[in-house]
Symmetry: C2
């Protein structure tokens, strides 16, 4: 077995090439070039340029440096050496492209079957917790998200991070990979506050899927084991600017340091004012919008966002603002849509007329919880919304 | 003929409804609701919501106010009154949708013919002036840009503004409208620095197209006749952050005041650093990215941008930063890519060895001009790039 540096420290090779070529896309750009070379065919610089989303002279400079390090051989078009092939295998890179539009092209029968199986899983999940802005994407949306990540060249990847996975994207990645016959991630790291969601993932992912499940409240910084580890991130955060910014900040903590890594964000469309607030947050986090597909995510009955949300492909730059350094601190502000609608409302039982105060910081958080429990007096499950109520003071009896 | 306010002051009606409903999308949002109602069929609030990109309760509030003003009748689903139909006709709104993906779906034979005719026009245009970052989009790209504006609900429009039209988008809008049998713009306002481009547009647009051609250098504020006039803007600016920001700032001058108007931007992909600089400029200009399709614009041999550029749909918000108020002042900084590559270069004639200094501020601005002219000594047209040369001082002989 070879003991070349390429094998013992794969990311060291990426960093070395990125430094030598002063690559604005950093290690991530070198990884994209290697992904373009992962197949059996040799590739011309122009093809590599398109696939890696780098200008031709930049892609050529990266190839030159990879030649110097013995990863790429001396022939044209370019191909990997034996050491290069070992490096690519270590990184979990595989030849895979998706050439048609992932959001509108018809799905193959295999992928339609995966979408159906993912829809069936939703029935086994715990009920949506609307206080966490949970809502379940359709199976087709989950499959198309994975195809989009492939089309963008973000998958296959050494390590995928998912911040909040009530959509079971981790399961979708494993099953789409199985359907395509190509493993899509060397590992998947899932961060979620809900033990029930993590249990669903554990029981429904294929047994050979390397999924690291971490129960964690993202109001707090990521645990050390998840930091600086992944090469691509995805999140479908709460639909508030603060929630999106916080989940994205945690995604950035989980990504390897440096520019060029992709972060996928799924987020409901907002009116112009809040929409530009989010854009300002993205800039402050050092994230640039590279692709934005409005309304392509479909949800099963999502009240907050009208059943649709937008899909963003963001790229990390080197320009993260110091003022948004969440790493050091826990977040204690409003986060979920319900937090911003903090004022509780009275609900009246249609059976006996008894009144209940419902609100995110009340003992009864949602009308759904009230309906599930039933009226304590008459057992009725139909309630009429009444007037807004004053917020109860923590520590006092309501 | 009716003398209702709806007919005498169409935009006054839009402003009145936007004010009464405190609509974040302003007049533009009301216009989108009216566009959804422009066809012969009645529309449910849900359909109008999707088409107008407004949440259902917001679309319903706008409909309610339009009922109060006698524009929409009292029935459900909603339909226009006779006054409402007259208002919609005055605004030049027509029923038209484009339901498939405008960037990837196959074109109909009629539209393929339009694309071919637009390609043929390029042969009649003056040569690309690379010092102005000119490059010609393919006919297919021009057609797809128009379809995208239809799919987004931005066309048909009362008034379309094009800031810099070396791509002849104005001609494409007229011809696609003719092919679809639906006029797409009550008027088109074209701002361009090049008399030759304006002459090409005048000679190749259909005789009944209402195109207002304005020869103008956008370094200076728009002439009063073009200000605050249009409802949608499009620009394919120079590929520098300053150039894009300046052309967009002029587009904003040409749009009606208030939020919600769409601005379409076509701009080459940049490395992470300059890319996030552009995003910051967009935020400062009060423009939020609503859709971004990477690499969908194809050009005929565009060196600067590798033959591709990204397509942005931006929406104007109410949050324009005072620090980017270009309206009062002319711009005197670098603008075109060549300005940022200001240092001239020596070229050597391959035939006789004579040396020439080529640069954007030199008597010979580009190597293309040198090749077209030929070597003054031997008539050769092949030149080798040599060393960078010192910039000649204006007023001195080189």
């Amino acid at each position: 077995m070879s003991t070349s540096p390429a094998l013992t420290a794969p990311f060291g090779v990426l960093a070395q090439v990125a430094d030598a070529t002063q690559l604005g896309e950093g290690e991530a750009g070198v990884l994209r070039v290697l992904r373009a070379l992962a197949g059996p065919d040799r590739r011309a610089a122009g093809e590599i340029s398109r696939f890696a989303r780098l200008p031709v002279p930049v892609a050529s400079a990266v190839l030159g440096e990879l030649r110097t390090l013995g990863v790429v051989d001396g022939l044209r078009p370019a191909g990997l050496t034996a050491d290069g092939r070992a490096l690519v295998a270590t990184l979990g890179l595989r030849p895979l492209t998706y050439a048609v539009d992932p959001w509108s092209a018809p799905l193959s029968p295999d992928l339609v079957a995966v979408a159906g199986a993912l829809d069936a899983l939703v029935g086994q999940q715990p009920d949506v917790d609307v206080t966490l802005d949970q809502s379940f994407a359709t199976g087709e949306t989950k499959v198309r998200r994975v195809l989009w990540m492939i089309a963008a060249g973000a998958l296959p990847t050494p390590s995928l991070l998912i911040v909040g996975d009530d959509d079971l994207l981790s399961v979708a990645v494993a099953r789409v990979g199985a359907a395509l016959g190509v493993p899509l991630a060397g590992e998947v790291v899932v961060i979620d506050i809900s033990a029930a969601i993590l249990a669903t993932i554990a029981s429904s992912a294929p047994p050979d899927a390397a999924i690291d499940l971490i129960e964690h409240d993202v109001r707090r910084p990521l645990p050390p084991a998840a930091r600086g580890r992944s090469c691509v991130a995805s999140t479908d955060p709460p639909y508030t600017t603060q929630g999106a910014a916080l989940f994205l900040a945690r995604a950035l903590e989980g990504l390897r340091p440096g520019p060029g890594w992709d972060a996928f964000l799924h987020y409901g469309a907002k009116p112009p004012g809040p929409a530009i607030d989010l854009q300002g947050e993205l800039t402050r986090l050092g994230l640039v919008v590279r692709e934005l597909r409005p309304g392509v995510n479909h949800y099963l009955g999502a009240g907050v966002i009208g059943g649709r949300s937008d899909a963003y492909r963001l790229e990390l730059t080197a320009q993260q603002s110091a003022e948004t350094d969440w790493e050091a601190t826990a977040y204690d502000g409003p986060l979920y849509t319900a937090d911003l609608r903090a004022r509780p409302r009275t609900y009246v039982c249609a059976g006996c007329g008894e009144r209940f105060i419902v609100g995110p910081r009340e003992p009864i958080a949602t009308v759904g919880a009230l309906q599930a429990h039933g009226c304590p007096t008459c057992g009725g499950t139909s309630f009429r919304p009444g007037s807004l109520a004053p917020q109860s003071i923590p520590g006092e009896k309501a």
